[in-house]
Symmetry: C2
Subunit: 138 residues, 2 copies
DNA sequence: TTATGCAAAGATAATCATTCTTATTTAGGA
DNA sequence: TCCTAAATAAGAATGATTATCTTTGCATAA
């Protein structure tokens, strides 16, 4: 999993640095579409000298190179998603929790719908669902 | 349409002020899910003394009272939507344009799908599609 | 080896949307 | 008309993000 990520960096012509590896690992570990702040806090424990600016710069680089996605929210701080394949999100309206939601049947349903119901003057690139609600337990 | 809005304010127990009316009119006129900045710029022409803080406070009040919705984006500044009934959005990946998209058939399709495919540990409140792509002309 | 080039990281200042504070004004009911 | 809670104005403060500038780490060429 680590070598995997190193290879991806190299494919994109990006240098493999300890910071980049640490930031990506942090995002995987944190596992709730973390903010930059979450990432910084997590990394600071093992890697206390990392610079805030570096984290933001690395996150941008990752997004540009499609190693991460930004997640839309209505909050001030951006959240990041290591899951770059197309998928949907469950948003809790009470907490900051955002979970992934994958549903191949639903994707087909929607994709078929748009085959017969074109949107005038608009070329679709991708479709995401924001499913807002409340998690039960856990 | 204006009296309509005044009545809505009164129903909610909110005072009808020139600032509130101007802000709501601006959002309707601007008609592209404007930012606070767009609204301020628009209002300043007729109403030069309005305060920036007032605009933000009024926007919050409107959102709390369901007269406006916030629109999720991955940009820094928030956008506002006077269209509070549930509907979807077309996002252009090249420009800041966001259009409304309503599709009753699609809503039914999705709603039926979730009747038979419950999400474990999650109670759905609402579902919005973010349809990203590119507008043709116009 | 040593020098040169260059991407990346660190430190920290600057920016900019938004929020907060405090004094003042006003809408709307009594 | 008067009163008062609610709303606004002005501007300072905050906080996330971006920009700037210097330093570091390597690779490659002299
Ligand atoms: Mn709209
Ligand atoms: Mn911000
Ligand atoms: Zn995700
Ligand atoms: Zn809308």
């Amino acid at each position: 999993m680590n070598t995997d990520f190193r290879e991806k960096l190299q494919e994109k012509g990006l240098k493999v640095t300890p910071q980049r590896v640490a930031i990506f690992e942090a995002i995987l570990k944190l596992n709730n579409h973390p903010t930059a702040e979450d990432i910084i806090a997590f990394i600071k424990t093992n890697h206390p000298n990392i610079s805030v600016g570096t984290v933001y710069k690395v996150l941008d680089t990752f997004v540009e190179n499609n190693l991460l996605k930004k997640v839309k929210t209505e909050k001030d701080s951006m959240r990041y998603d290591p899951h770059v394949a197309n998928h949907h999100h469950l948003y809790c309206y009470e907490t900051e929790r955002i979970d992934d939601y994958e549903d191949e049947k639903l994707n087909e349903l929607i994709s078929n719908h748009f085959k017969t119901h074109k949107i005038k003057n608009f070329k679709i690139q991708d479709i995401k669902l924001q499913i807002t609600g409340k998690f039960n337990n856990q």
